[in-house]
């Protein structure tokens, strides 16, 4: 019995090494057909290999455009700790996807309300544009106000909320919260430093904030 256990262990180690070598060859983003091409194997075998590599922690699956299954293959067996960070939250909720400059993980769960304010903090045009979709998922307006006050971006948050209502069905903001946001005194008038568009003058006037997005940018949510 002991001998058979040792034999099984040896076989597992050998198989592990085999699939690690395969993961090294396939390192990067793959589809079933790209695996077939790279290894010169049939589709059925490729699916089996991907399954075996996934079981060993070399593969992370996701869906690409057109619902194609994408496999991120790496010879390193990465264990994700904590909760998804800003970029993952935006990509989960927004139809506009962004590429994250790094893998962001947080160890206290990030709420949608916090993500809106954190997106504003990046001052990145694409990140802020994609984050507009998060307003649809806001449940706790006082929490959003709290984060906005902490980072001193209350007027920016208000302007983005009004903008998001132009393209999607976001829940109505608490009147009291809206008044508090409007009452904020802020020096910084920009959402993205130095960028100002003239397509939404009523929002700019109401919040005294330079909106960086044009109608064309916002239209992308409807496509």
């Amino acid at each position: 019995m002991f001998t058979s256990f040792v034999m099984r262990e040896k076989k597992d180690v050998k198989e592990d090494a085999k699939f690690e070598k395969m993961a090294r060859e396939l390192n990067g983003l793959n589809t079933v057909s790209s695996v077939c091409k790279k290894l010169g194997i049939q589709k059925k075998t490729a699916i089996n290999y991907i399954y075996e590599m996934k079981k060993r922690g070399f593969v992370k699956a996701s869906r690409g455009s057109g619902k194609i299954r994408m496999y991120s293959i790496s010879p390193a067996r990465k264990k994700e700790l904590g909760y998804p960070g800003l970029y993952d939250i935006i990509n989960e909720h927004s139809p506009l996807k962004i590429t994250s400059p790094f893998n962001h993980r947080v160890y206290e769960e990030m709420t949608v309300e916090e993500a809106i304010v954190r997106a504003l903090e990046t001052k990145d045009f694409r990140v802020i544009l994609a984050s507009l979709a998060l307003f649809r998922h806001v449940r706790n307006w006082p929490r959003l106000y709290g984060f906005a006050k902490e980072k001193d971006v209350r007027r920016q948050v208000g302007a983005l909320y009004d903008l998001s209502r132009k393209v999607m069905k976001a829940k109505r903001m608490d009147r009291r919260i809206e008044n508090n946001l409007l009452a904020a005194r802020q020096k910084d008038k920009f959402i993205v430093p130095g960028i100002s568009a003239k397509d939404f003058p009523e929002i700019s006037r109401k919040w005294n904030i330079c909106v960086p997005f044009t109608k064309g940018d916002i239209k992308r949510f409807k496509e």
């Binding site: 090294r24 390192n27 990067g28 922690g57 790496s74 010879p75 390193a76 067996r77 990465k78 264990k79 700790l81 904590g82 960070g85 790094f102 893998n103 962001h104 993980r105 947080v106 160890y107 206290e108």
Partner: protein, 210 residues
């Protein structure tokens, strides 16, 4: 030896104890654990860019029963408790300097409350591994090179910057280190070794002139 979960718990503890947002760069074996290249590490290596932030982080651990030692010659805080070791560097990792590009090249950012741990890129981990003279570091470097897609151009650019900034021929250490790693049957392009030799030649010339 410290595992990934243990390390995360410790960093979380530091983050919850700090009163202000603090950033650090995680290097060495601890960074490798975040990439899934290594399962355990002997010590957690953290590099700070401000002395106050380093002191605050060390104080948080001291309050939790860690014993602090200070190595004046290397400017390192070593904190230890029950076999768990943490090295805290300030802007300098032995002979190497913490550069802005190292911070920008980070591949992962982990936020533990008020502590933001930026994980050094695999290229920087390899580079900084050559600062020490341990056999384990060569094996670590071999594993990094085999399991991640190393951009050798980055390593060359960084070592040139390190040479310039330190006024020392640090590229010689890197060359010797990579030779050792290569002898462990690691695939390091010959072109890179050749370029490193050329950089070293230039450095020797400079030393002769001075």
């Amino acid at each position: 030896m410290t595992g990934l979960e243990e390390q995360a718990a410790l960093l979380k503890f530091i983050g919850s104890s700090l009163k202000k947002k603090t950033e650090c760069l995680v290097i060495g074996g601890s960074a490798m654990m975040f990439y899934g290249i290594k399962n355990t590490t002997k010590d957690i290596d953290m590099v700070f860019s401000s002395e106050k932030e380093r002191k605050d982080a060390a104080l948080a651990l001291e309050n939790a029963g860690f014993y602090k030692k200070y190595f004046k010659d290397k400017d390192i805080f070593l904190l230890e408790r029950n076999g768990m070791k943490i090295d805290m560097f300030l802007k300098k990792i032995f002979k190497f300097f913490l550069s802005n590009s190292m911070m920008e090249r980070k591949k992962e950012v982990h936020e533990f409350g008020n502590l933001t741990a930026m994980i050094a890129s695999p290229e920087d981990i390899v580079l900084l591994k050559c600062a020490t003279d341990r056999e384990g570091d060569r094996i670590d470097a071999k594993n990094i090179i085999e399991k991640s897609d190393i951009n050798w151009g980055i390593i060359l650019e960084e070592i040139k910057w390190q040479n310039r900034n330190s006024g020392k021929a640090l590229s010689m250490f890197l060359y010797d280190f990579l030779l050792d790693v290569k002898s462990l049957k690691t695939d390091i392009p010959d072109k890179i070794m050749k370029e490193l030799r050329a950089i070293n030649k230039e450095e020797i010339e400079k030393l002769r002139k001075s």
